[in-house]
Symmetry: C2
Subunit: 202 residues, 2 copies
């Protein structure tokens, strides 16, 4: 594991998704790995942390998740713009060398038999909470987050630091037709002093 990757406490895991980035979904079953892109992923709970992700029935990664009951949600960066688009528009069914052709590198994290995508900013290892009605009717999958990690060059001490990191670390937010926005400027709704006052009077 890269020296810059550090665990994120599970009670802070939702922050990795809170700003609504497009994510990469990866899964492994019976020696087969796959990675796809998903714009429709969202935090669902803090404790235990959970998330939702929408996975179309034609997606090979969905089948791997249904079989293995586990998956990874990871946050790709501006540096991975083409990779993110390509893994979302190329199928393992049509191209058995999809991952190689899309430039996807994988790495391992101890105690998790899952394919983690190299170069992302954050990773969430998830256990599928099987909800057959949601999966069949809405293509909606719920995962309990059982492990979280981030690259300390862009997320440290429970906070994203896009404003200080290089622009290539920014998250991607997909619209349609290959068109994305990167995350932008930081802004605070409360002054530091006011926030302190609020905490005190809670």
């Amino acid at each position: 594991m890269d020296q810059h990757i550090a665990p994120v406490p599970l009670d802070k895991a939702s922050r990795l998704l809170n700003h609504g980035p497009t994510v990469l979904v990866s899964a492994r079953h019976a020696g087969m790995d796959n990675v796809m892109a998903a714009a429709w992923a969202c935090a669902l709970d803090y404790a235990p942390p959970k998330l939702t992700v929408v996975l179309d029935k034609i997606a090979k990664t969905r089948t791997l998740i249904e079989q293995s009951g586990t998956f990874v949600i990871q946050v790709p960066t501006v540096a991975q713009l083409k990779l993110t688009y390509q893994v979302g528009h190329c199928s393992l069914t049509d191209d058995p060398n999809k991952l190689q052709h899309c430039g996807v590198g994988l790495f391992s994290i101890a105690d998790h038999d899952l394919p983690f995508v190299s170069g992302c900013s954050a990773w969430l290892a998830c256990k599928l909470m099987r909800e057959s009605h949601n999966q069949q009717t809405y293509d909606l999958f719920i995962g309990e987050i059982v492990g979280a990690w981030a690259d300390t060059r862009v997320f440290a001490n429970g906070h994203w630091n896009f404003e200080a990191a290089a622009p290539a670390w920014r998250s991607l937010h997909y619209i349609a037709g290959g068109h994305f926005y990167a995350i932008g400027e930081a802004m605070n709704a409360v002054k530091e002093r006011e926030k302190g006052d609020q905490e005190k009077t809670k």
Copy 2:
């Protein structure tokens, strides 16, 4: 209705949420209106268009939605940073004049008996698809989008145009503790020529 607000075709409605903005949720029942903020809202389907939103059991807006079966999801702007934070941290239960104190203005759209928040960039009128298990177990609500509108100064012809609009029109993406990011730079994963080629060979 403001002259700049135009309907968005329902098959393009998901684009209003695709980049993962923090939203305002509003609802009306028996003469009572309320508005709250939600970072956990997500597109769910294209046709008919659907979305998910997570609503805590303590939220008064949730009760109004359960009673009326309808709600609005709207996309606030950088100009509404304080308003967005305040409606998420103040309860109608504690302050009956919450909306006034938070600076929320409401407007109407014909044929929809719902409170639409003035000054947002996009609005999605939703019909609750009652799923008791999801609502009770996960605080997860599913809405079918039955009407969509956007301010043409920032979304027109099916496309966001954050790059050309004034910075105050950018969407907000909440992290925690009053800290947000605005949406940032536009980027294309495919050149226009390549996209044309892909469409042809589909």
